[in-house]
């Protein structure tokens, strides 16, 4: 009852359960501007989807959720297309670079170890910093206090660079080299870690590009949309791992979830949004750390996944 057979995944799933999973992850996506792959892929593996199919079908699903989310944020004036496109160009460059880098790392041996430790440390650092900073913001302490001495030097450096331009939606004036470089950096990380990169991109836009939080969420979703279109087509063409039926059930839930997420996002203050996202980042880090410390029930896994 309520089961549907998924030919690419080679398993059947409960439609209601997958729909609810999609709705929940879409909600997070709409609120925070993240793709939600960090949560969706393990959930799909738990219901019996092979890791490679889970990751690829999730990309397909994110296309739907981020379209829905981007549209809703666009109506609210929260999407900086100019910034998004520059970050995206950097992301594509970084992604290509990252794919080669991962091959090199694997060749050197112990790459997985380095990657996972770096990821946990980075999530801990980003989540912890964001948490403390937004907590101070909520308590009424000036946010600038969290980054006191660094700001003038960083600003001076940024102003020395050429190709300065106006980003109207974000209300900032900046050289295009900075978002291009940061986009490339996130692209490299995303390719190496095998994740979408939303978790790193959002804090980078907030703290290094100094964009307003609500514009960050909308712009991040816009960028994720294109990244996932690219991933979906590539995975479908080369690895045949996109299960469209699975993606369709997920995105029915996630596109709805994303709309409600945007509504919630709109009602929250920037610091409230940041502190919830920081908690989520820390939770993901704790989950990864638990996975590293907890003795697995089976010592073998199928190849693929996040």
């Amino acid at each position: 009852m309520w089961h549907l057979y998924l030919p690419i995944a080679g398993n059947s799933v409960n439609v209601i359960l997958v729909f609810i999973m999609g709705g929940f992850v879409g909600l997070l996506s709409g609120i925070f501007g993240v793709g939600g792959g960090f949560l969706m892929t393990p959930l799909l593996i738990m219901v019996g989807i092979p890791p490679t199919v889970a990751a690829a079908s999730d990309s397909n699903q994110i296309v739907g959720a981020s379209t829905s989310g981007t549209l809703a944020h666009y109506r609210l004036g929260n999407v900086d297309f100019k910034m998004g496109i520059i970050l995206l160009v950097g992301g594509v460059l970084g992604g290509t670079l990252g794919v080669h880098l991962i091959k090199l790392l694997r060749h050197m041996g112990n790459a997985d170890f380095l990657i996972q430790i770096t990821y946990v440390v980075m999530l801990g650092f980003v989540g912890g910093y964001m948490f403390i900073e937004s907590l101070q913001g909520l308590k009424g302490v000036k946010p600038a206090a969290a980054v006191p001495a660094k700001e003038p030097r960083y600003s001076r450096l940024v102003k020395m660079l050429p190709w300065e331009t106006e980003f109207d939606k974000s209300g900032i004036r900046l050289t295009i080299l900075i978002p291009l470089f940061l986009g490339t950096f996130v692209g490299v990380l995303a390719a190496i870690m095998g994740v979408g990169g939303g978790f790193i991109m959002v804090p980078i836009m907030v703290y290094l590009l100094r964009m307003p939080m609500h514009v960050v969420v909308g712009t991040s979703l816009f960028q994720i949309l294109f990244t996932c279109i690219n991933v979906t087509i590539m995975q479908a063409n080369t690895n045949h791992t996109v299960d469209f039926v699975l993606a369709l059930i997920l995105l029915t839930g996630s596109t709805l979830g994303a709309q409600f997420g945007v509504k919630i996002s709109r009602r929250l203050k920037a610091d409230q949004l940041k502190i919830i996202l920081a908690s989520l980042v820390l939770l993901v880090m704790a989950k990864m750390l638990f996975g590293l410390l907890h003795t697995p029930s089976v010592l073998l896994t199928y190849v693929g996944g996040h």
Partner: protein
């Protein structure tokens, strides 16, 4: 669902090379499998097959379903720095069946069943699979790797050894009637499977019989598989377009509520 009753096929393995197979008349085991065609449509969620037949009155029946031999590339988890569990190497397991289901007879029905040790000695169980398997990996003992592989397959229902899985209904002193309802998993790959019945007498295979069943995708799953595997790029573009349309439609549906903010 096509249901079909089959004529009796008898396969006697006595004298075919295995020293543990004692010579008995080939007509001693009869078997019927229903259904013999597994149609994996949109609502497929595993399937039950019923295996019925007759064995000599003084024997016990073992029923086994096996898929064709496959090769699996896996990652092996190990401890790094003594505390952290992560993927530390690759393991290749080959010459192992894609599906392995072994149903054991009701317990205490006959003195010829003397516990799991006997089944393992017969080589029809997982011990036989282990013997044939080629395992290439580092760090850990191959028997441990095989046990972990079995655990991985058991999680998806592709491997199972089921106690009390074969039941008896009649015994006229000459023949014994058995039946077994076997659960094929939702993760069943498409292909041909061999259903085998072994009649066991005093720890030896007295006679055996085999039938074949076929599992294949039909309807929507078959159509989607064909598109995904034969026209990958087109399938990818269509998947993206459907997702975009779904996202846009949802966005439009919520359009009227913008004023609420």
């Amino acid at each position: 669902m096509i249901k079909k009753t089959f004529a009796i096929l008898i396969l006697c393995l006595a004298g075919l090379g295995s020293p543990s197979y004692t010579a008995y008349a080939s007509t001693e085991v009869t078997v019927t499998v229903q259904p013999d065609r597994i149609q994996m449509g949109a609502t497929y969620n595993g399937e039950r097959i019923t295996v019925t037949g007759q064995i000599p009155a003084d024997t016990d029946a073992l029923v086994r379903v096996m898929g064709k031999e496959e090769k699996y590339n896996l990652k092996q988890k190990g401890r790094a720095l003594g505390v952290l569990w992560m993927n530390l190497g690759s393991v290749e397991v080959s010459n192992v069946p894609s599906i392995f289901l072994l149903y054991l007879p009701e317990s205490n029905q006959s003195e010829s069943t003397s516990g799991p040790e006997m089944w393992s000695a017969l080589k029809v169980g997982l011990a036989g699979v282990r013997e044939q398997a080629d395992i290439v990996g580092q760090h850990v003992d191959k028997d441990i790797l095989f046990k972990e592989f079995v655990k991985l397959k058991e999680e998806s229902g592709q491997y199972a050894v089921v106690a009390n899985g074969v039941h008896y209904s009649r015994n006229d002193g000459k023949m014994r009637w058995f039946s077994s309802t076997m659960a094929l998993p939702a993760t069943l790959p498409q292909g041909t499977y061999r259903v085998e019945i072994f009649a066991i007498r005093k720890g030896d295979i007295a006679a055996s019989a085999a039938r074949q069943i076929k599992a294949m995708e039909v309807g929507m799953p078959a159509w989607i598989s064909a598109l995904a595997f034969n026209h990958g790029a087109l399938y990818g573009v269509l998947s993206v377009m459907m997702a975009l349309i779904a996202g846009l439609l949802t966005g439009l549906l919520f359009r009227g509520e913008k004023g609420a903010h």
